[in-house]
Subunit: 407 residues, 2 copies
């Protein structure tokens, strides 16, 4: 008897038939005498459709109004799911982000949760209700609607689990867990039974679309066990994301992943003066541009070159901002390469096993794949390759680590 | 320089092209240095579509969740209109009912406004914003979303005009004013330039779909001039609804209207005892059934017959409730007729002009139209006819009053 938070993504709630499946998962927990809080996304392609309609009105994004518009997707789902459960004679109640309320900062389209008031939910649970919560949305201190960006329903779910002191958070999706690579690229993938928050974070930020990054961060901070499960394949056990790294000690790497749509920007001849690098990245952060890999190399004696990657859809704006501030940064030249892909391997203790990087590079070399950039951390190694090489790179690396006996 | 409230209905905001027209009306008032509050409905058939989706989930209506679902329609419109105005470099901000907040009772699907907090809107106006408000929706004291029933955006608009002490409220629609009859039935209709609140109330409740009843009531109570105008025909002056009855003294009747989908229920042999009639209508009111015409005739010495009309879609439920309580009401028999239509004429002082009723009945008699029931009030006369006769009845009556010289 405890609180279980279940989250169902857009593809799990896309149709009425699928909502029926969702209700079965909920009722299963109710039958086990658990209290259930359900977080849902917008149905199917609803959010995409709303954004397409928005683009017809204006090419420019007006963030506050954008959030007012797209937040209706989840509101539709909560109402329907609550109705469905009520029609099956279960007490259910829907709540929008502002009704809970889930307080966030005012960073529209990509806001972060500041505080969740759990009194309303707890009262509904106490009086025997299944509580259906709209994912992805909150309210700022001035009463404006905010949204968390794509995948934000995962964040809602794990944050609620933390706030409600839930036993666990189940993330239901259309895949049945986290895999060692993308099954669409590598056909010999292995499902991971248990993975640490840290590894999952790397997998998430590396382009594995299974879990939203911030949700894993919150899970880690509040130590919430997160199960990634299939909505439709009931037999599958899924993947447990937890803090128990010991499970993994026998494995060297846990997964191979790729992130296409990467572009690299190189700033040539940045003045080699204290504060210039800081100035550069502060400028980008103020404009909400997420910089990923950063490599700094010294050029001529009074200047340095800095290369970093941004997502393809941030490229145009990043270049614009840099050109505007070229003089202020005293940069000589701003270059960029598009159509790159970041291929990474993830695994606890990679840093302590020198053979791992070598094996990765060997797999790429054997397949004639050019590496444009390399970065490493405690638990991952990433290389930048041409996007045309990325599938081959994932396959080759996966084979090297998972399918050969001699590693 | 004052506050103008403009309301645009579903057909006025149905497409992007139409939203462009809407923005022109708004900008016109801004250019006159007015402060503008805009109330909009859901786009085109959005609400119908949502209700169709709801019916796929469950045949039974769960009122709280119904309101959560259908209120998204207006939320989509406010976001789009605010974006459109911002893209034209006007400051605009959208507000949902709960953000204002518009406080209502908890009578989901048909709630009434209790109080409008005007501080948020006034602050946005003060700082130079066009305020775009979602019509048809509010919030109850427990933070639940409520809606006002069909046509409720009119109510939002006039109630806001009252709360903000606006100069006037413009109701933009796809017709260019209030007519003496439905132009689809009578092709010689005359547009009414000015009409009193009372007459408009009768026209509204009689099935003229131009203005929502409650909005006229609020207009009357707070003396808000209401203009009914066309969104698309800019030359037309529209109809002014006001308290100035003097304009109308030269006219005998102001309009002919009909309301199809009426059914009549007759309770035969109700015990002729004090309180029985009260008991009957209290029972129906408790079940939220709106009773319209009531005619009571004494039958045998210890019983009486009562006939009354309800809307067709309330008929089944009304009969069910009456059958359940037949014994308690000590009624002998419950009869009903379907497929009736109420045809009415509206005009100040009808009661004082005996020729009016006679002319109306004469028009029906000349066309062989049978009257099933008659009621009169200070400013209207209604007759119940077969629904198949209703168009002919409206035409005949209209001709009698508006097109013949000798009246």
């Amino acid at each position: 008897m405890g609180i279980i938070v279940q989250k169902f993504g857009g593809s799990s709630v896309a149709t009425l038939e699928k909502l029926e499946k969702v209700s079965e998962h909920i009722i299963e927990e109710i039958n086990k005498k658990n209290q259930v809080v359900v977080v849902v996304s917008a149905q199917g392609k609803t959010t995409d459709r709303l954004i397409a309609e928005e683009k017809e009105v204006t090419k420019k994004v007006y963030p506050r109004e954008h959030d007012v518009l797209v937040s209706v997707g989840e509101q539709i789902t909560i109402a329907k799911l609550a109705m469905l459960l009520k029609s099956k004679n279960y007490n259910a109640v829907s709540l929008c982000g502002w009704q809970i309320p889930i307080l966030t900062d005012s960073n529209y389209t990509n806001s972060r949760i500041r505080y969740i008031h759990n009194e309303t939910i707890n009262e509904y649970l106490r009086t025997g209700n299944i509580v259906i919560v709209a994912g992805f949305q909150g309210i700022d201190e001035n009463g404006n609607i905010t949204t968390f960006g794509r995948g934000g329903s995962d964040t809602t779910a794990v944050a609620l689990a933390a706030s409600l002191d839930a036993e666990r958070c189940d993330i239901f999706t259309d895949v049945d867990g986290v895999y060692s690579a993308d099954p669409r690229i590598v056909d010999t993938v292995k499902k991971i039974k248990t993975i640490s928050y840290e590894e999952m974070l790397e997998l998430s930020s590396m382009g594995a679309k299974v879990l939203h990054n911030r949700c894993v961060e919150i899970g880690k901070k509040y130590n919430i066990p997160i199960y990634v499960k299939s909505t439709f394949e009931r037999k599958s056990l899924g993947t447990l994301v937890t803090n128990k790294e010991s499970f993994l000690e026998d494995l060297t790497i846990n997964g191979v992943t790729k992130d296409d749509y990467i572009s690299r920007i190189t700033i040539v001849g940045l003045e080699n003066k204290i504060g210039k690098t800081y100035q550069l990245f502060k400028l980008l952060s103020e404009n909400s541009i997420n910089v990923d890999i950063i490599v700094q190399s010294f050029g001529e004696h009074i200047t340095k070159d800095i290369a970093f990657t941004v997502k393809m859809n941030d490229l145009a704006r990043t270049l614009e901002i840099l050109e505007e501030n070229k003089e202020k940064l005293s940069a000589k030249e701003i270059l960029h390469s598009e159509n790159l892909s970041k291929v990474s391997i993830i695994g606890v203790g990679i840093a302590n096993k020198p053979g791992v990087a070598a094996s990765m590079f060997e797999a790429l070399y054997e397949n004639n794949i050019n590496m444009h950039m390399v970065t490493t951390s405690e638990i991952k190694i990433s290389v930048l390759v041409d996007v045309n090489d990325s599938d081959l790179a994932v396959k080759a690396i996966h084979q090297k680590f998972f399918e050969t006996e001699n590693y």
